[in-house]
Structure formats: C-alpha cells, structure tokens
Symmetry: C2
Subunit: 373 residues, 2 copies
Amino acid sequence: MAEHSSRAADVLVIGGGIIGCSIAWRLAQAGMKVTVLDRAEPGGEASSAAGGMLAPLGEMLEPRTFSELCVASRNLYPRFAAEIEESSGHHAGYRSDGSLMVALDEKIERELGEIQRVQTAQGYSLDPLTPGEIQGRGADLSPHVRGGLFIPEDHWVDNERLMRALLIACQRAGVRLEAGCAVHKFNLTGDRIDSVVEENDTRYTAKTYVLAAGCWSGKIAEGLGIKVPVAPCCGQMMEFEVERELPFVVRSGMHYLVPRPGRRLLVGATSEHTGFEKTVTANGLLSLMEGAVRIAPMVGKALFLRAWAGLRPDTVDHLPILGYGEIENLTFATGHFRNGILLAPVTAEIIADLIVKGFTSRPIEVYRPTRFK
Amino acid sequence: MAEHSSRAADVLVIGGGIIGCSIAWRLAQAGMKVTVLDRAEPGGEASSAAGGMLAPLGEMLEPRTFSELCVASRNLYPRFAAEIEESSGHHAGYRSDGSLMVALDEKIERELGEIQRVQTAQGYSLDPLTPGEIQGRGADLSPHVRGGLFIPEDHWVDNERLMRALLIACQRAGVRLEAGCAVHKFNLTGDRIDSVVEENDTRYTAKTYVLAAGCWSGKIAEGLGIKVPVAPCCGQMMEFEVERELPFVVRSGMHYLVPRPGRRLLVGATSEHTGFEKTVTANGLLSLMEGAVRIAPMVGKALFLRAWAGLRPDTVDHLPILGYGEIENLTFATGHFRNGILLAPVTAEIIADLIVKGFTSRPIEVYRPTRFK
C-alpha cells in the first residue's frame, strides 16, 4: 500500500502516556506544533495502571544523581499538578499527606534504620516512629508493626485522574492526539528521520521526534536499527473499598497501600518480567492480599473492586533513557521503570528544554541512549 | 396509586431462578398458562452464581430422605438437561466425568473413609484412590494429596448456560417472563390469594401461586403474614483461565474446582451469613485462592478472570421448603441452600405434580412449609 497522506508538525511524540503527553504539553505551551501518536488509547497503559506514589525517599535509589532527579521531579509536582488542573479544569487528585514505611520484620526494620541514617545525612526529612506513635496516627495497622519511618514530603497523586486531566490540557494547548496509531516504519535520510509511517500507512513528518513509548520503545527503535533495551516489567494491582480511609500511603517491602477518593484503596504491586502480556494471576493476587492484610488486617474485610496489571518500562540498569542519541532529530524519553509518574514533570522540562533551547541544565549524561552499546 | 392492570394466568411463579423457571417450564409443558415474576433479571442471582456441581455423594446429607432426594434429582439430570437443550437449541454444558474428593490432611482423610463406608453400604459407587492413582488420572494436583475418593456418578453442569437455555425453553413453551417485577403486596380472600401486586402497581392474578424467590422468599412471605425463615448465605467465587483443563471436578473441604469450557476453572466457595449484600472481600478471595493452590498448585499461575458472590437461600434446618402450607393456593419451592442447581429437576417434578395432579409420589413431608412454627 502507498503511504497515503502526510501530516507535518514541529515535534512528533511517539507514545501518549504521561511522559509523552507531559512533553507534548510543555512543547505546545512553548508555541510548538505537536502531534502525539499512541498505538492504542493515550494514557491507557502504565500511566493509568500505576499507583501514583511520588515517593523518591524511603528507597536507596542509585546512583545519587538519580535519587536527586527523582527528588527534583517530586519538588516540581505541586506546581505541575496545579497547572494541569488549571489548564484542564479537572482535578488531578494531588495529595501531600506523606508516606509511612513500616517494618514487620527485623530485616526491614534494619533497612529503615539505614535509609533514615543515609537520607537524613543528605538533608531529607524522615521521622522514625515507634509502634505506639504509628497507632496514634490513625492508620489502623497491624499490631505486629515494629516501627516505621514517616516521610512528610513523599506525596501521591491519583494518576488516572492526572492522566485524564493532562490529556485535556494537551488538547486545549493545541496538541494533536492520534489514538490507534502504531508506528510501522521510519523514513530516514542519513542520520535524520524524515517521517514515520503508522500501520494504516498514514505518514507523519516533523522536525524533531520524541520516543516516549514506554516498554514498546525497544520494538519501535528496531525500525531505526537502534538497540534500546527496554523490557516490560509486569505489575499487578488491586483496588478495594475500605471501611475507613487510610490517612496516607503505607508501604512495607514490595507492598504499598495508596488511598484514593471514595474510601478506595489501591494495593500494589508485583514485579514480573513475563513479557508483554498484562496478566493478573492467582499467585499475584495472593501475594498482594497477603502483604496488604499483613500490613493492615482491616484490608481483609475490604470489598474487592478490581484487579489489573500494567507494564513498567524497565532498562538494563533500571535508569531512564533521556536525550539525543545517534539519530540527529530523535530524542529519547523512555525507560522510566517504576518512576514514570514521579518523573513526568522533570522529564517534560528536560526534553522540552533540549528541543526548544537546545540544552538542559540538569545533569543527564548518565541517562544517555547510547550507553548500552 | 391505583392498581392499574391485571394479567391472568393459571399459575404465577414468584422468582425467576432455576427453581422457578424449571417449575414454570414443566407446567407450560403440561398445557398451563404460566407467568414468572422476577424482581430483577430472571436467572441473574444464585442460579448463575453457583458452581454447578451435581454431587449429592461425598457429603453426609441428613436426613437420609434428603440424601435420597438429591440422588433422585441427579438421576433426573441427564434427561432434564437434554430436554432443555432440545427445547432451547442451546448447549447446557452438561458433564458426566465424575468428581474427585481429595484429602490434604488427616481429618479429611478420615472423613472420606467414613463417607465411603456409609455410602458404599447404601449401594453407591465411590472409588478410593491412592495418591499415585490420583496422579495417574491427570489432574495435576498437589504432591501433598494423601488420598481421595472418586465418584463417577457425580456430574456437573455449566449452570450459567443451563439457566440461559432454560429461559429460552420457557419462552418457547409459552411461559411469560416478567423482569423487574418485585412483589409488593398480596390481595387475599380468606386463605386464598386473589392477586399479587408488583411495585409498579401492576396486578397479576392466577389460580395457583408458587413462591420460588430464593433468599428473598422470607421477605415476600411477610406480605402474607407468613414466617418463612429463609436467610441469604453469601458464597464468593472466582474464575481463572488455566494452562491445562482439569479432567473433572476436584473438591476438598469447603473448596472446589470446577472445569468450564475454554480452559476456565471455577473456584468456590465461601459461606457467610452477612445479609443481602453480595460482597467479594479480600479475606474471601484469600481463602478461595489459598484453598485452590493447596489442592492444585498450578492454579497459582492461572489467569484471574473474575470474582463474584451469590446468595444461597438457607433455612434453619438447611432443608428446602416444598409444597402447600397455610395458604390454599400457594405452593412453596424455596430454601434450596447449596443444592438449588442439583434439585431443580426433582423440585420441578414435585411442584408440577402437586399443581397438575394434586399429589406427588415423592416423600416431601419433611420439607413442609409449616414445620417452622
């Protein structure tokens, strides 16, 4: 079939998740003509499946520069969410009530102690709490909680709402969102992309291209002869209706409980490298519920609402891929693994700066797309 | 509001589940004009929520006459299902591959021995199997299975399909099915019902009435000044897609695994007297999955499809309520508790005989509606 039409833009973003749309929105705000192509529905994958924690602390993120990137993005979040709300006229469900990490065994108790020591030394605010103090905060947790670390600056967002609001903000800013547009082929001249062709043979041209296709980025980059080692890491999640709302996010090990409006409670998440299938399994549900009930026995009586899975875009070193690589007019914004929601504001800033100004003041050398060679 | 219309029939059946519809179908086959009223969608409650096991053996059902009623109904089933298939032109998913009860602990092992002893003495066929023999039957169960009892004559049916086929058979036989008709009031003359009025004030008259409203029967009977102690007993269920189909039903204690077409597997069931709410809870799901994985570890990898709950109509003595009581022209067919699917054919025969012939050859004295006084 012949390529049957051609649509020109300043920037073409491949991938309509929170990363691609945040970039598109910032570029449109800067006066650029932007098109976003999504293989299915914009916002329909990991961006909506996630738990929405904005919690860079409480984990030992390596290297230090990555930890700083995460904290920087969290610091951008209140303004980012407010701007999206203002532009869209929709609530983004931003919450700044903090996050509590709890230890139910000695191993995690030791880890929390170490996290507190290191991150306090770095100047962050983490409050160690005794079991009694935790009960005093009204979270109705297990009597077996041995202690915890409250992180007042770790926030969270209703990422489904945020994503919907962001899509509206994009449209209002003039971004063209194209659903059901899977990239099929690139037309290149030397080291420059001339156009991309989607599966129905519509051709899209732009001056600059952004690859922000989450775990599908590797497959798409194959069409450019580039190796981008992004692999899907499946996360299973559940949602319940609880009798009494949790006052903040509660985490322990791999399990987290995130309050949502209407006494809903998200329980996450498994981590499975099982390919592109988004599968909810008995073992996954068992692990989530056993973990949740262990942290907060009241979850046992909670009403089950739904279970789902999403695919995090993981990389070999678990760090994102940001900036220009071998193709002159292609910038990468992918591989955000477990931090896609958190890193959206800073990624949008970095990529928009690279495209609009030609540089970013953030140190992004460690995230360069050519590092996997 | 005035009662604004009147629809006459020979028999009015209150309740459009498998019991009510089976009775209506048999009466229509006998040439009667039958109307079925359902408070919501016919077949939409326990009849579709159930697991569909037709397994009167392997449990110590008391009294002996009840056990015999269950076996009698199971013996009617192949013909009953075939007739529904023929009348409706739809498959009912009837399966006669038997059922396996397994013991994973000493207590259940002893129980199975006792069941085998008693039921074999009663002339039933139950085959004790060693762990090796069980593995040889290709069911891929836990290596911790200590032994089992295979019951070749315990069958099962896809009750959702059966119910859909039965509704079509009813319609083809001329039964009038009225959805969304909650009974609001009875008009009585002495000990006879003249008419029933549903919530939108439509009046229905008939010569004879049948109360087959499952766990809602007690509430409805209040309108007659009669006490019918039927209480909802909530059962939570799950459905998975497994890699390899189970060759037969497998049971252990409260847990059962029922194969369905398309490598689906039903896992049931909890028993909770928690009122009329059909709630799926974290504790319920945990119990189902822990039980299922304990019986067949392969279920752990199975894909979760859905979870739901249904309300079994339980009675004080856990026996059904059948036949005429204080109201001359009202016959009861309710309170089938965990045996509604199984008992549909024999219940339909009994009630149709009572209405058409004026008597039944089955001993139903123990199920009389007046026994609760």
